[in-house]
Symmetry: C2
Subunit: 358 residues, 2 copies
């Protein structure tokens, strides 16, 4: 039987609750396919700050690197919000992404028929939305040098960052995006601000060059401001979107909110080699932490992505996705996706319902 080592990073807020549910679902779905998992739980984010004073301990990173895949819950909370930069939970997350080299962040935004009413969009606009944002995750303005504080010629204080992309960074994310589009509906929209930014001009040039290797994919380009509009006007026009780190941060969150159910949305972050990082796109929701109210389905769907993209275990991935749909069909809902006529349940109970359908 196959064995995989999984690093669990429960993190902060609702992180531990949702990771605990997802771990059980993963174990069960694996066992049905003859797959065994060994789990190692490590501190990260605010939890690590409280324990050892840094948001990403060296040991956490090295254990994660040696494992086959990493499942992260969520990080952050009011408690650490005013920490200086090096001591912010978010900094630990950026260090983890960089340390793992996971440059490709896949963020699906899918409106499930069962949840179409959760969207603030009109039904006819929301139903059938099924898009994937491929976000560059280890470059651009998040990591560009120089950055910091200083003075300008007039002696005034300045804060500055550098948006920078090298050809190899663009090429590798473009390749992932074209491959992703190929497995979907064959349409790729590259989003940039090439009418203003040099970094975007290089982006557009390299993505266009890469297209010659993918004659079966229909490539279009869109400015980021227009993309922000088009996502609201007609989200169904999109299949796969590829964009840089900061535009991807904004647009993937916008796209996720179109579904109205961000408690349902998983993500995968992948590198050239080495383990992938899998996490729900929602935050740590400190206001409902520890109250058994969190929706664990985004994390459950993240382990499905872990199986598919991290371990190439497509069957187990499908089993989990189908179990989540079945659970929704049975009417189970956590508070965030509740509507009248459905069964309002907590984090654990919806997790048990999924287990029964696995």
């Amino acid at each position: 039987s196959k064995r995989y080592n999984i690093t669990l990073l429960p993190g902060d807020g609702i992180g531990p609750e949702v990771v605990s549910v997802a771990k059980n679902v993963l174990t069960l779905a694996g066992s049905q396919q003859g797959i065994e998992f060994e789990f190692r739980e490590m501190p990260m984010g605010g939890a690590a700050l409280d324990l050892v004073g840094v948001p990403l301990p060296d040991e956490t990173l090295s254990v994660a690197k040696q494992s086959d895949a990493i499942l992260l819950g969520a990080i952050g909370g009011y408690k650490w919000d005013n920490n200086e930069k090096q001591l912010k939970p978010e900094t630990g997350l950026l260090q983890l992404r960089a340390g793992l080299g996971v440059f490709a962040n896949l963020r699906p935004a899918t409106v499930l028929p069962q949840l179409v009413d959760s969207s603030t969009l009109k039904k006819e606009v929301a139903e059938g939305v099924d898009l994937m944002v491929v976000r560059e995750l280890t470059g651009g303005i998040y990591f560009g040098q120089p950055r910091g504080f200083g003075k300008n010629e007039k002696g005034e204080e300045i804060g500055f960052n550098t948006e920078v992309y090298a050809t190899y960074e663009i090429d590798r994310i473009a390749r992932v995006a074209f491959e992703t589009a190929r497995k979907r509906r064959g349409k790729l929209c590259s989003v940039d601000k090439a009418n203003v930014l040099e970094a975007s001009m290089l982006w557009r040039k390299r993505v266009t060059m890469m297209a010659s290797h993918y004659p079966d994919i229909e490539l279009t380009h869109m400015y980021v401001d227009n993309a922000a509009m088009q996502l609201i006007r007609d989200p169904k026009q999109f299949d796969t979107i590829v964009t840089n780190n900061i535009f991807g941060d904004i647009l993937s969150d916008e796209a996720s909110m179109l579904t109205g159910s961000i408690g349902m949305l998983p993500s995968a972050s992948l590198g050239e080699s080495g383990p992938g990082l899998f996490e729900p796109i929602h935050g740590s929701a400190p206001d409902i932490a520890g109250q058994d109210k969190a929706n664990p389905l985004a994390t459950v769907l993240s382990v499905a992505m872990l199986l598919r993209y991290g371990l190439q275990e497509e069957n187990a991935a499908r089993t989990i996705e189908n179990a989540v749909l079945e659970t929704l069909n049975q009417g189970f809902r956590t508070g965030d996706i509740f509507s009248t006529g459905k069964k309002l349940v907590g984090c654990k109970e919806i997790g048990e319902a999924v287990m029964k359908s696995v």
Copy 2:
């Protein structure tokens, strides 16, 4: 009687059509208040490229600077899309903003009761939306140095830009934003990415300091990715939003699309002193140019902003805004905002309807 000099920059695509309507409305509304206008039309954008080979001729900028206010139609079109950077219509627009020093861009997004069905949002989410994005317009990554192309240590090609803000730039836009919020519902939300970017950390610090001068204004802070979500989840939570140049580009376009009627949305760009620049937020729409199909109401509402913010002629501004509402009440609609039961008319005819209500 009062006299003002107005520079008209019709620009490209539908620009000339919509500016022509708005000019007539301005003239009429002014004459009723004893105001006379002298207009001077100058080339700009693609039109200037075709005429004299640059997107912003020196003479256009100097005439604009000496006038009391500037009305711009729209710029750009397929024809110039592949021009090199210095010969893009967009570059002319950036030069105009910088040349005039109009650092504060006010972009209202209002859902009019008459047009609530145009929104792709559910009626209960869209109705009553009335927000103002105050976007910094002459700084940040749009203008930051250094920028360009080069090589990294490994000899690979790179494209790079600098996001940079100095304290005085943040302070002056914050002041405009607090003053704007004071004239509205007293709520200001500052949007940044201070959990990652140093430029945003300085932004947040200075906006927070400025708040001590505005104890009557309720200031909140939001990360840009969350703002992109919240605009869709519950746009009515926002009154005034202040943000940097690139985030403002994205969020103001997103906010405008919430209304479903970007053919209705005006904007004002203001400096410390000197004339303001007023323009519809929509583009040049080359596909419908010259066909009398364009919606001129965004430009008509831009001359209302010109009167209010550029010339302090509040009465004339109100007259025009009321005439636009009256025209909608009478059922006149251009194609972009048409719905069954209404009167479908062209650019000129809806302009004449507005004139009758002035």
